[in-house]
Amino acid sequence: MTPEKPFGLIIEDDPDLSNIFSEAVHAAGFETEFVLNGRAALERLHGVTPNLVILDLHLPEVSGKDILEYIRSEPRFEKTIVVIATADAIMGESLRDDADFVLIKPITFAQLRDMSARLKPVA
C-alpha cells in the first residue's frame, strides 16, 4: 500500500489565489483542497486533520484568527502546520507566535511551493 499523500487545506476567500495556492501546495506533493469561507473551513476541519493549513485572515463569516484559535485548541491538530497567508501585515505579525509561519502577500507560486515542500512530513 502506497503511503498516503500529506493533506493540505487552503482557506482563502479569493478563488484565484485559492487556486494558485492549491496548485503550489499540490506541486510540493500534497493532496489539496480549498475552502472559500471561514464557516466552510471550520466544517471541513471537523472531518479532516490536515498536515498543512494555508490560512488567510480576512475571511467571510468566520475570521482566520478564530480558525487558528480553533486549530490550536484541538489536540487532534497537534502536528498540523499553520501558515498564515495575509495581506494584513499588522495582524499577521500579531499572530506570529500562534502560527508556524506568517507569509505576507504577495506570495509567489514558487515561494509557497518550496516552503510546502520543506514542510512535508517525512514519510
Binding site: I20, A27, R96, K105
Partner: protein
C-alpha cells in the same frame, strides 16, 4: 499764611503789561513808590506824634504841606503806574521830573549850590537808566546840571562844574550797567523763547508718537481678536500675559484659567491625556522654537501647536508665544486619506497576487510547455505586477507611518538572518542586471541582536533594491558592523552613478525622485527612501548618505543596540 503773604505782596507789586520790559520797569517803579510812600508815611506819623506829645509843631506849615503833597503825589503815580492805558515811560519820566523839582526844596539854594545835598541828584539819574531806558540817565544828568545852574543863579553862587561833571559820570556808569543788564535779559528771553519753541515741538512729536503707538496697538489688538488661531503670550516667568478669544474657544477654558497662569496650570484639564500634556510642556517652552508643529487631542478637537521665543531689539528673549490651530478637520481628512490608502492598497494586493501567481505558473511551464516568446511575455507580466505591488506596499507603509500606526516588534534574532534574507530576495535581481551583491558581517558584531528583524530587512532590502536600480555595472556591497558599545550599523555601497550634492538633501523626501531621465527609466513613485528614513528614525537610528557623482553612493544606517525587553529577560530564566 505764608502763601497768603506772597499772594498779597504779588498783588501789591505786580503790574500787568504786555511788554516784559514795560512790566519789569513798572514793577520797579511800583516798588520804589511803595517804598518811598511807606517811608514818607511813617516819617509823617512820627513827626505828627512828636508834635502832639510836645505840644509844639516840629515843622512849619509849608513843610507839612510839602510832606502831605509828596504822599499824595506818590499815590497819584502809583495809581497811574497801574493803568495800562497810560504809557509806562510817561509815568516814570514824570515821576523822575517830579523828584528833580522836589529836590529844589530839600535844602536851601545856597547850600545846594554849595554842594551839601548834591548827591540826591544821583537818584533820578540812576533810576532813569532803570525805569526808562539805559541812555535816559544822560537826560536826567543834563536836567540835574540845569537845575543846579538855576539854583546857583538864584542864590548868586558860583556854578558847581564838578558836580555837573560828576552827574554825567554817574550817568555813564549807570548807562553801562543798565545796558549790560538789559542785554543779558534780552538774551535770557531769547533763550527762553527758543526753549519754549522746543518744548512745543517735542510735545507735538510725543503726542504724534503716542497716537501712532496706540494706532498700532489697536491694529495688533484687532488682529489678535480677529484671527482663528489661539494665541498665548508668556512673560519671562512663563506666565500668560496675553491671549485671544480664539484660544478661549479652542481650549474651552474661561479667561481667568488662562491669564496670569503658567502653561502647566493652563493644561490642568481632563480634556487632554497625561502623555500629550507632557509633550506640550516639553515642546512649548522658554527660549526655544518648535521645529515642527506638535499635534495633540484636546477633547474632541485636534490642536496643532507651535511656539517661538519673543525677542527684544537686542535679540534677548523676553518671553515666548504659543499659537494653537484647530486641526480637527485636517486630522480627520488625513485619517480618512490614510485609511483609504491602506484599504485600497490592501484590496489591490489580492488581485495583484493572483496576476503574479498565474504569470509565474505560466512562465515556469506549470500549465504545459511555453515557447520562448510566451515565456518572455509571462515574465514581463510578472515583473510589471511586481513593480505595481511594490508601489502599493510603499503607499501602504507610508500611510501607516503617517498615521503613526506602525508598530515595532523587538525580538532577539541572528544578525546573519539579515544578510541571508537579503541574498534570497535580491540575488536574482542583481544577477539579472549583471551586478554582484556582496555582504559581510564584522567579527565584533554580536551574533544575535534585539530588533524588529522584519523592519530591518525592509530597510536593507529597500536600500539594496535602490542601489541595484541605480547601478549599471560593478557591485553592491552590504557591510554590517559594530560602531561602539551602544551602536551598530550597516553600509550599503554601490558603484552606481552617484547623487549630486544638490539632490542629496531631497533624496529622503516622499514622492520625490531625482529630476531628469533617471526618473523615467527607473520607475517607482519615490517612496522607498522616505520610508527607509522614517523606519530608521522610528527605531531610534539615523541615516547618512555619502555620494560622489560617477563613483557611487554609500548609505549608512546607525542604530542603537536595543536592551532586552522584559519578556526576554523572563524567557532567559
Amino acid at each position: 499764611m505764608r502763601e497768603r503773604l506772597i499772594r498779597f505782596s504779588n498783588l501789591l507789586l505786580d503790574v500787568s503789561a504786555a511788554d516784559p520790559d514795560d512790566a519789569r520797569r513798572r514793577k520797579l517803579l511800583n516798588v520804589i513808590l511803595i517804598g518811598t510812600g511807606s517811608l514818607n508815611f511813617l516819617v509823617l506819623i512820627t513827626l505828627l506824634s512828636i508834635s502832639i506829645i510836645g505840644r509844639q509843631s516840629v515843622l512849619d506849615g509849608n513843610a507839612w504841606a510839602g510832606a502831605i503833597g509828596l504822599l499824595l503825589g506818590i499815590f497819584l503815580f502809583a495809581w497811574g503806574n497801574r493803568r495800562p492805558s497810560l504809557p509806562g515811560w510817561a509815568v516814570s519820566g514824570t515821576f523822575l521830573v517830579f523828584l528833580l523839582i522836589l529836590f529844589m526844596f530839600v535844602d536851601t539854594p545856597e547850600q545846594m549850590a554849595g554842594g551839601r545835598s548834591l548827591f540826591v541828584f544821583t537818584i533820578p539819574i540812576i533810576m532813569a537808566s532803570l525805569l526808562l531806558y539805559p541812555a535816559a540817565s544822560f537826560i536826567f544828568a543834563g536836567l540835574s546840571a540845569l537845575e543846579i545852574w538855576y539854583l546857583a543863579e538864584k542864590a548868586g553862587a558860583l556854578y558847581n562844574t564838578f558836580a555837573a561833571i560828576g552827574f554825567f559820570l554817574v550817568a555813564l556808569v549807570s548807562w553801562l550797567s543798565a545796558r549790560n543788564r538789559e542785554q543779558a535779559l534780552r538774551e535770557v528771553r531769547a533763550i527762553n523763547k527758543e526753549l519754549d519753541q522746543r518744548v512745543v515741538e517735542r510735545t507735538r512729536e510725543l503726542s504724534e508718537a503716542l497716537r501712532r503707538e496706540s494706532e498700532q496697538s489697536s491694529q495688533r489688538q484687532a488682529i489678535l481678536q480677529g484671527i482663528a488661531d489661539g494665541v498665548m503670550v508668556f512673560d519671562t516667568q512663563g506666565k500668560v500675559i496675553l491671549t485671544n478669544p480664539a484660544l478661549i474657544r479652542l481650549l474651552e477654558l474661561p479667561l481667568d484659567k488662562i491669564l496670569n497662569r503658567n502653561l502647566a496650570e493652563v493644561l490642568q484639564s481632563t480634556k487632554i491625556s497625561d502623555e500629550e500634556r507632557d509633550l506640550i510642556l516639553r515642546s512649548v517652552g522658554y527660549n526655544q522654537a518648535t521645529l515642527a508643529p506638535i499635534r495633540v487631542k484636546w477633547g474632541v478637537r485636534t490642536l496643532s501647536i507651535i511656539s517661538a521665543p519673543v525677542r527684544d531689539q537686542k535679540g534677548r528673549a523676553i518671553g515666548h508665544v504659543a499659537v494653537m490651530r484647530d486641526f480637527t478637520r485636517e486630522a480627520e481628512v488625513e485619517q480618512m486619506k490614510n485609511a483609504f490608502v491602506a484599504m485600497v492598497s490592501h484590496e489591490l494586493r489580492t488581485p495583484l497576487n493572483a496576476i503574479l501567481g498565474y504569470s509565474e505558473m505560466l512562465r515556469d511551464g506549470f500549465y504545459g510547455a511555453v515557447n520562448e516568446k510566451q515565456s518572455n511575455a509571462a515574465d514581463r507580466i510578472l515583473s510589471n505586477s511586481s513593480r505595481l505591488l511594490n508601489i502599493v506596499s510603499d503607499l501602504l507603509d507610508q500611510a501607516r507611518i503617517e498615521a503613526g500606526k506602525l508598530k515595532f516588534d523587538y525580538k532577539l534574532f541572528h544578525t546573519s538572518d539579515l544578510t541571508d534574507n537579503l541574498h534570497s530576495v535580491m540575488d536574482k535581481l542583481a544577477r539579472d542586471k549583471g551586478l554582484e551583491l556582496t555582504s559581510r558581517i564584522d567579527a565584533n558584531m554580536p551574533e544575535q541582536i534585539i530588533g524588529d528583524s522584519h523592519r530591518l530587512q525592509q530597510v536593507l532590502v529597500n536600500l539594496v533594491n535602490n542601489a541595484v536600480k541605480f547601478t549599471d555595472k560593478g557591485t553592491v556591497d552590504v557591510h554590517i558592523y559594530k560602531v561602539n558599545e551602544r551602536h551598530w550599523g550597516f553600509d550599503v555601497t554601490d558603484t552606481g552613478q552617484g547623487i549630486a550634492p544638490d539632490d542629496q538633501k531631497h533624496i529622503f523626501d516622499p514622492f520625490r525622485q531625482l529630476e531628469g531621465t533617471v526618473t523615467r527609466s527607473h520607475g517607482g513613485i519615490g517612496l522607498g527612501l522616505a520610508i527607509v528614513k522614517r523606519l530608521v528614525e522610528l527605531m531610534g537610528g539615523q541615516i547618512f548618505l555619502k555620494s560622489v557623482v560617477g563613483q557611487g553612493s554609500t548609505f549608512t544606517i546607525i542604530l542603537p543596540f536595543e536592551p532586552p525587553r522584559q519578556e526576554e529577560k523572563e524567557g532567559e530564566k
